[in-house]
């Protein structure tokens, strides 16, 4: 797998195929047992703790539920990386935070606490926080889960716009076929821990493979079976129970 610079790359696949694990490997939250992963020229398997933290300053990550720090306000959440890593004067921090909040449309919510935000709003705040250090790589973990259609559209447009205006490399992990086909330049489809298909969203639609057809078409049964592996149905129903 190679993730191209400056593009939006989607990693898709049914639940439990290792998408999140792959993200954790890319970000160094997990170490690979074998194989190599290189991020910006650094080998993630052998990288030292300091090097990893250095590299993470060039990465932003959007967690599934936003993962805002609940004891800080929206403004302080976005300011958090700046306060931790820079000695910028308060005035400049204020301006940086407000411009990033403006970019996600939530400048007016700067004084709210995370508990007062809706799901879509907290994800946008988290997005502002992820870009406040001007990263080169932005990673989205399931950004569309549990959002209403309006918030979903907002996030889709933000992913595209931020990628193009800030010159980012974006990686989106998701299983929403519709949204991904509007936003992604390149798609990797995983199944059972392996890449089963790659290409543009259009190429994937006509991909000659059962699993891809099942996933893209949203079919209930196929290579990923509807039934969890179980013993014979009638045999189990007719079998004598414990209390007979």
């Amino acid at each position: 797998m190679a993730i191209p610079r400056g593009r939006v790359t989607a990693i898709m696949g049914p639940s439990g195929t290792g998408k999140t694990t792959l993200l954790r490997l890319i970000t160094g939250q997990l170490r690979a047992d074998s194989g190599t992963i290189e991020v910006a020229g650094q080998n993630m398997r052998t990288i030292r703790r300091n090097g990893l933290y250095e590299l993470r300053r060039r990465m932003g990550m959007l967690f599934q539920n936003g993962a805002l720090l609940t004891d800080l306000s929206v403004f302080e959440n976005v300011a958090f990386p700046l306060r931790e890593h820079t000695d910028l004067p308060d005035r400049l921090i204020r301006q940086l935070v407000l411009t990033k909040l403006q970019a996600v449309g939530l400048r007016g919510a700067a004084d709210l606490m995370p508990s007062e935000l809706s799901g879509g709003m907290s994800r946008r705040v988290a997005l502002a926080r992820a870009i406040v250090m001007d990263p080169e790589i932005l990673i989205y973990d399931e950004p569309f889960v549990g959002l209403d259609p309006i918030s979903m559209g907002v996030i889709v447009r933000l992913i595209r716009r931020l990628n193009d205006t800030l010159g980012l490399t974006s990686i989106v992990v998701s299983h929403d076929v519709e949204e991904i086909s509007t936003v992604a330049d390149k798609v990797f489809l995983l199944s059972g821990g392996k890449v089963v298909a790659k290409g543009t969203p259009q190429e994937l639609r006509s991909y000659p493979s059962e699993i891809v057809r099942q996933f893209v078409g949203g079919l209930a049964d196929g290579p990923v079976p509807f039934h969890y592996p179980a013993p014979d149905y009638f045999g189990e129903l007719l079998a004598p129970g414990d209390d007979s």
């Binding site: 933290y53 250095e54 993470r56 990465m59 990550m61 967690f63 993962a67």
Partner: protein, 255 residues
């Protein structure tokens, strides 16, 4: 054979757990100097663990002192030495009841709050988010909470003892009629500096133990509702047992 095997396994499990607690403590100790530079974070946690526990500590101190006054008076009266109530209550409070009861209350009030807060931060990805922002959560979140508890505990124990002595005086002198002069003068003569030292050392060590258990359990909690609940329960139970065990060791060491 099976019983022996299970015993052996549970022994090695406990040793492993103990080892990882010690490793966690060492990792925190390494980060303490960097953390102290951000004193405002620690001050907020002293407020959290200390100031917010004051009411329960003071109230309990008062009642423990009052019971001590009543029981001590009944006992000492049999030997006709009620005036010794002051010294008896003071030594009991400063050396034993102050540090121990404060530690137990601290585990119940502040320890559980710490463990569940950290557990929920883990469950809502806040700790992973910090790591992804290149901020070490142990340095930024765990160490300030640990130090806050360590600093707050001796202060709380001292307040507990003072209020307790007042409670004993309230019952002994004001109600049972022990002579006020001899109550206080015997106390002053009978309590030495080494008794106070023993109380301070005990409460400092209990502070380290209770805070360590709380932040460890919270930080490594299983990130689910049941997991956070279990971490909170374990914090109280483990803290109580460890405090009472350490209390015996320390008392024996000071003899």
């Amino acid at each position: 054979m099976k019983v022996l095997k299970e015993l052996w396994e549970s022994l090695t499990d406990s040793l492993e757990e103990l080892g990882s607690v010690v490793r966690f403590l060492l990792r925190m100790i390494v980060l303490i100097p960097a953390s102290v530079l951000r004193f405002e974070l620690i001050a907020a946690q002293i407020w959290n663990a200390g100031a917010l526990s004051l009411v329960i500590i003071m109230l309990s101190g008062l009642f423990v002192g009052m019971v001590l006054g009543l029981q001590g008076f009944q006992l000492l009266q049999r030997f006709g030495s009620e005036e010794a109530l002051g010294v008896a209550a003071a030594i009991g409070l400063v050396k034993e009841l102050g540090p121990v009861v404060t530690a137990l209350l601290f585990a119940g009030r502040a320890g559980t709050a710490l463990a569940s807060e950290l557990g929920l931060m883990r469950a809502t990805d806040q700790l992973s988010a910090m790591e992804m922002m290149a901020v070490d959560p142990i340095k930024h979140v765990v160490v300030p909470r640990f130090l806050g508890g360590v600093i707050a505990m001796p202060l709380l124990a001292a307040i507990f003892s003072v209020i307790g002595i007042y409670g004993a005086q309230l019952i002994g002198v004001q109600i049972m009629g022990v002579d006020s002069g001899s109550f206080w003068s015997q106390m002053r003569a009978g309590v030495s500096l080494s008794d106070i030292d023993e109380g301070i050392v005990k409460s400092a060590i209990f502070g380290v133990a209770c805070s360590l258990i709380a932040v460890y359990e919270g930080y490594y909690a299983t990130p689910t509702a049941a997991g956070v609940g279990r971490a909170t329960t374990r914090t109280v139970v483990t803290s109580a047992v460890v405090v009472l065990f350490l209390d015996y060791l320390l008392t024996a060491a000071f003899l």
